[in-house]
């Protein structure tokens, strides 16, 4: 049985011109693997992640024929039951660390919070694990950083704090929404390794959301290509060159290559769609 099962997932928002579907009938299964979700900005990647986590607030509406996490039907699950899962068994790394960290709580307590609300650990154990998590995301001086407020660290550091905050509970399902966009290339690899390690060692299922097809194709087991709220193509690792859909081929063609020198980067050709 797969970890996460999604069939015909739809997310709808009302608008002046009637309801707008931003996720349109998504279906996929996720095992203890690395699944990439790629698509241009606005294609509904984040909304998919939030819908699975049960974080779409009114007036947004979520429907699905199947939405099962580890045997639990997430549809119409009471808020209290959902809350026990969130942060402990399923988690989500949010996109923009600048807005997704609380500005008036120090970094240490923010990371420890998930452990605190889900109980089980002593204060000392929580602190030790918090420092470990900061070390794991390659923060050199975790004790000092733990005392800082989010505005006192850089964007890249904030993103690593965000990752530490969500991996510290070692959830079974992790949705990572553009987790490395603010990191430079050297740190990016290291941070992906942490997630990778959790997949391999703990059997975590990972949904890696990104607009960077290149990175995702090198790093994930499988890729779903999203366009305007729907999956247009599924690709296995290393099979990028076999992509059929014109949208995917457009994305592939617009990847810059190291072995090629071009005056201009080709852009996505929308007329071919």
């Amino acid at each position: 049985m797969s970890l996460l099962s999604v069939k015909n997932l739809r997310v709808t928002f009302p608008s002046d011109h009637g309801p707008v579907e931003v996720v349109r009938g998504l279906s996929f299964d996720l095992g203890r693997e690395r699944l990439g979700i790629v698509g241009e900005s606005g294609s509904g990647k984040s909304m998919t992640g939030r819908a699975i986590m049960g974080l779409i607030a009114t007036p947004g509406q979520v429907t699905a024929d199947v939405l099962t996490f580890d045997g639990v039907d997430l549809r119409d699950l009471p808020e209290t039951a959902l809350r026990k899962l969130r942060g402990a068994r399923m988690s989500m790394i949010l996109q923009d660390p600048k807005f997704s960290l609380n500005p008036v709580i120090r970094i240490g307590p923010q990371i420890e919070e998930a452990m605190a609300v889900h109980g089980a650990l002593t204060k000392r154990q929580r602190r030790a694990r918090m420092l470990d998590a900061l070390t794991a995301v390659r923060i050199d001086d975790p004790a000092r950083v733990a005392r800082l407020y989010p505005h006192e660290v850089s964007g890249g550091m904030g993103q690593r704090v965000m990752i530490a905050m969500m991996v510290v509970m070692e959830p079974a399902l992790m949705i990572a929404d553009e987790p490395t966009s603010a990191l430079d290339v050297s740190v990016r690899g290291q941070v992906l390794d942490i997630l990778d390690d959790l997949v391999k060692r703990r059997g975590m299922g990972l949904m890696l959301i990104s607009h960077d097809l290149n990175m995702v194709s090198r790093w994930c087991d499988r890729i779903l290509v999203m366009f305007q709220g729907a999956i247009v193509e599924e690709i296995s690792a290393g099979q990028l060159y076999k992509a059929q859909h014109p949208y995917t081929r457009g994305l592939v063609a617009s990847l810059p290559r190291i072995d090629e020198s071009r005056d201009r980067l080709p852009v996505l050709d929308r007329t071919a769609l």
Binding site: G87, L101, N102, V104, A114, H151
Partner: protein
Amino acid sequence: MTRPIAALNFLLTLAVTFLGLLAITFLIGRVVPIDPVLAVVGDRASTETYEAARLQMGLDDPLIVQFVRYVWQVVQGDLGMSVSTGRAVSEDLARVFPATLEMATLGIIIGVGFGVPMGVFAAARQGKWVDQLIRVIGLAGYAIPAFWLGLVGLVIFYANLRWVGGPGRIDLFLDGMVEPRSGLLLIDSVIGRNWEAFRSALSHIILPATILGFFALAYIARMTRSFMLEQLSQEYITTARVKGVPERLILWRHAFRPIWMQLITVIGLSYAGLLEGSVMIETVFSWPGIGNYLTTALLNADMNAVLGATLVIGAVFVGINKGSDALYRLLDPRARA
């Protein structure tokens, strides 16, 4: 800015603001058609006496010299004599101001104690009936005049139900029985272990303070609600939900904590507003505070008393506002940076 420079800057703006306040009261004193010389010598004095007094008061000096002299006197605590009480204005103010302070302070405690939680719950239940109810209460705080509420309150709770004491600060037979230390009757009666006086003072203050508190509450609840709504739409609230944080903690730890420093400014503003706006309530409740003193002084054309009281009210207003602003800067980690 570094700390000492910021502090210096703060003191400087404070000084300039007070100087501006003094300039205003000084100019009012020159503009009003009340002759300060006549107030001293009486209207049956001869022309010679009048002229001598005028010269002695320095009223033929250039305005700027007079202003500097005025500032110097105020700095030394000399606000002149009151013609209606026959005492120094500063002495009068030291007596009446604590009465106002006591009522406004109790009022703001009531306003914050009820207004802040009401604002938080209204935001948490946005659009639901609790929110609507709280909005109506907030509107009432805008629309209902203070003196009307005061009169109705007196009729119901004093005249009919006899739940509270009537006008004044304390029952007549207890008046003067409490040794003044802070000037605040509730505190002084506790210090003196005079429980009868404490009970009486409390039963007198509770109604006007609650009415003042109601006006503060309306404003504070409205501001708290809109601050909270802004916070609840922030992305870090989603982060907290992802972590499985319970709704109660989302409200108070994640949404309220970033705004309570902003609320200090709002509370300061309404506290100052209560001190200054107590004129109506003091009249209705015969409260011997600065509002009543000011009204009496105005009716008697007692210019020194009017200007002195205005100065104190203005200074308190400026002081509280600047103070709460500074407190905010000191407490908010974002503003501290």
